[in-house]
């Protein structure tokens, strides 16, 4: 269903009405009423299928899942079914804040709403996607919010086994609350029927050329600036010209000006500064040899999971490598505090890309992490915990 229609359907119904719809749908599905669960989530990520993937086996597991439009959703006191409120990218709480003070106030409102939701009987779930969001405008306020949410949440979903250790520098996560369910692959989600040759022809890339891809929204913490600065060093080591594809939604104007200025002198850097629709994703990953995630900071990467789905090697911060257990041959780490390691990791990744064993490892990981399988594990874990 197109997002606009889905949004419309969410917007016109009250929270209570959607809960009732969910309950009835579960009943019609044959779920015993005592087993029925309602899971509301915020924020709905448009243009990122992660949530649809994670919840794809909801009904099979007795869960009716739907997004809510505001973090401060007030909930009716329901005795049945059991209600969960699942939070994802919580920096969106600051969406309308223009100053740190406004961010602090937004944070307070959000936490009060959580208390109300808990009083209404809802269990709070938080998926820790990042240590701090890539687009963080108020990092101090966001860290404080994360620390507070960590205390209030009943269940904390992590995808990286080292999440607690990596976040500990900024905020604590209670080990009794955390449960690990890996990031799904995108197998069966993105179209994948275009050949490498066709993808390269469409993008004007020769068969012999080495192609690096930076995929995803562009922002100061996503590393595009650093990568462009290091590109000459990578080319010097490889001894060949690189083709670079930078594809994703543009970030704030000031940052983009820097990127445009850096890319203007590099004619082999192609910038596609817009949202890449699901059908077009395959062209980029099929054409690429290596997908780069040169992030400053990171816990999980949907881009690395996407790359693995297409059999494309990725370069990620060291901290992300454990999230792709089993696919290490095709997931090369670098140390974000030592930028020269990005160069060596990229060179290693280009070597790995030519190895058939790498493709096999990535294909196995992708198959084992199909969204349906991961979704089933997620709901099973949740059931066991509550």
């Amino acid at each position: 269903m197109p997002y606009s229609q889905e949004d419309e359907q969410i917007r016109i119904r009250s929270f209570e009405e959607v809960c009732v719809d969910g309950k009835l749908a579960l009943h019609a599905r044959g779920t015993p009423d005592d087993d029925a669960r309602i899971l509301a989530y915020y924020p709905k990520a448009h243009g990122n299928p992660f949530q649809d993937m994670l919840y794809s086996k909801g009904f099979d597991n007795g869960f009716a899942c739907f997004p809510v439009g505001a973090p401060e959703t007030s909930m009716p006191v329901l005795t049945s079914p059991l209600l969960y409120m699942h939070y994802h990218w919580i920096h969106r709480v600051f969406a309308t804040a223009n100053t740190a003070h406004e961010a602090k106030l937004a944070s307070q409102r959000f936490l009060v709403a959580i208390d109300r939701q808990k009083s209404a009987g809802a269990q709070i779930i938080w998926t820790v996607h990042n240590i701090v969001s890539h687009e963080s405008r108020f990092p101090d306020e966001e860290i404080a919010l994360r620390a507070a949410l960590g205390k209030k949440a009943d269940h904390i979903h992590i995808m990286n086994p080292a999440t607690r250790e990596l976040c500990a520098r900024y905020y604590d996560l209670d080990s009794h609350k955390t449960f690990i369910v890996s990031h799904p692959s995108y197998a069966g989600v993105y179209s994948n029927y275009i050949s490498r040759e066709q993808a390269r022809l469409n993008l004007g890339i020769g068969a012999e050329e080495k192609v690096l891809l930076l995929f995803g929204s562009l922002g100061p913490r996503k590393g595009a600036r650093l990568f462009l600065a290091e590109l000459d060093n990578i080319e010097a080591i490889i001894g060949d010209r690189m083709r670079v594809l930078i594809a994703g939604t543009p970030g704030d104007a000031q940052y983009m000006e820097e990127i445009y200025a850096l890319a203007a002198s590099k004619p082999w850097v192609t910038m596609i500064t817009k949202h890449i629709d699901d059908h077009s994703v395959q062209f980029l990953f099929q054409a690429a040899d290596v997908s780069l995630c040169p992030y400053d900071i990171g816990l999980n990467s949907g881009v690395a999971a996407t790359a693995a789905t297409f059999g494309c090697v990725s370069v990620v911060p060291d901290s992300l490598v454990p999230t792709m257990a089993g696919a290490e041959a095709g997931v090369i780490g670098f140390n974000p505090t030592r930028r020269d390691t990005l160069v060596t990791a990229t060179v290693r990744a280009l070597e790995a890309a030519g190895n058939p064993d790498t493709k096999n490892a990535l294909a196995s990981w992708s198959e084992a992490h199909r969204p349906a399988a991961i979704s089933a594990v997620f709901f099973d874990s949740l059931r066991q915990r509550s």
């Binding site: 104007a253 000006e257 445009y260 004619p267």
Partner: protein, 314 residues
């Protein structure tokens, strides 16, 4: 933040001005720094000659604290004397203007080449952002461009597309790749047109071809007694519209197939320098030290070709 532009002297268009601007006769932006309304503003000008480029100039200010591209869209439509819409001959009928923070603004000149028979030109400005307030000073009345030419360095520091392109044309005539690259980088940064990006790719590719020998010496066995005389290229003549390496790779492929096991001799004739390059690209040795028709190869001069041939000599 909001008060900044007003403090800088910007005033909003009055209700009367907004209504009368719909007639396209009044050039209210001339009367000082004006806040740009949401609704597009247009002014009709008479085209005196379709030979000379038309231009207009604006200073655009934002209440943001950094320069931002594409916040104002300027478009020109042309009409015949009787009001029939005319298509511009080239895609030069619109510009995306930068907005500069207060105190850092530079005038931005925009150029338009009117089509023949154009009698009227309607220039329309439209604000593209709702996030920041935009103020603008200049004139929507199009005039013929008569400014003194800028030097290369002045052009590179400006946002003057006409002067940047004039220098680019000169550098193309002189086959000055260094200047052309600087000019193209500036043009790409300002407007990112596909044609400019392709030209920069082409020049960059030529430099890569010169830097690295394209192919190891060809080891094919010459068993045929009859030499193969390579008189004309198989490919259409290279015009510099795409990377030379692709042209050479394709030409070399066809040459190898056509020559079979014969010894190849290149002779003067159509696109001789390109054939010499292709022969060397395919890894064959030259039968002459002469270089013919170097002028035919875009962005390469005789010494570049000599350098390439010597660098890839067996």
């Amino acid at each position: 933040m909001t008060a900044t532009l007003e403090q800088f002297g910007a005033t909003a268009l009055t209700k009367h001005e907004l209504i009368s601007s719909r007639l396209h006769f009044f050039d209210y932006l001339r009367s000082g720094l004006r806040l740009l309304p949401k609704r597009p503003l247009g002014v009709l000008s008479k085209v005196r000659s379709s030979e000379a480029p038309l231009c207009c100039s604006f200073t655009v200010l934002t209440n943001g604290d950094f320069a931002e591209r594409g916040v104002v869209h300027l478009e020109v439509k042309y009409f015949s004397l009787l009001g029939r819409v005319l298509k511009p001959e080239r895609q030069q009928d619109n510009h995306q203007l930068f907005a500069d923070p207060t105190g850092q603004a530079v005038p931005q000149q925009c150029f338009f080449q009117p089509p023949r028979r154009a009698f009227w030109a309607l220039a329309t400005l439209e604000r593209q952002t709702n996030e920041r307030r935009i103020a603008l000073q200049g004139s929507l009345k199009l005039t013929q461009y008569r400014a003194a030419p800028l030097s290369l360095d002045e052009a590179l520091a400006s946002r003057n597309g006409y002067e940047l392109r004039r220098h680019l044309m000169l550098s193309q005539q002189k086959k000055d790749r260094t200047a052309a690259k600087r000019l193209l980088e500036r043009l790409i940064f300002l407007a990112a047109s596909s044609a400019d990006r392709q030209t920069l790719r082409t020049i960059s590719d030529i430099e890569a071809v010169l830097k690295a020998p394209a192919k190891s010496p060809n080891r094919h066995v010459e068993t045929s007694l009859e030499p193969y005389v390579y008189l004309r290229p198989f490919m259409p003549a290279y015009q510099g519209m795409y990377p030379l390496s692709k042209w050479l790779a394709s030409e070399a492929m066809m040459l190898e197939k056509a020559a079979g096991h014969a010894h190849i001799i290149v002779e003067d004739g159509p696109q001789a320098a390109l054939r010499q390059l292709a022969l060397r690209y395919a890894g064959f040795s030259q039968n002459t030290d002469e270089i013919w028709g170097a002028d035919d190869v875009p962005w390469l001069n005789k010494s570049d070709i000599a350098f390439y041939l010597s660098k890839t000599e067996k």
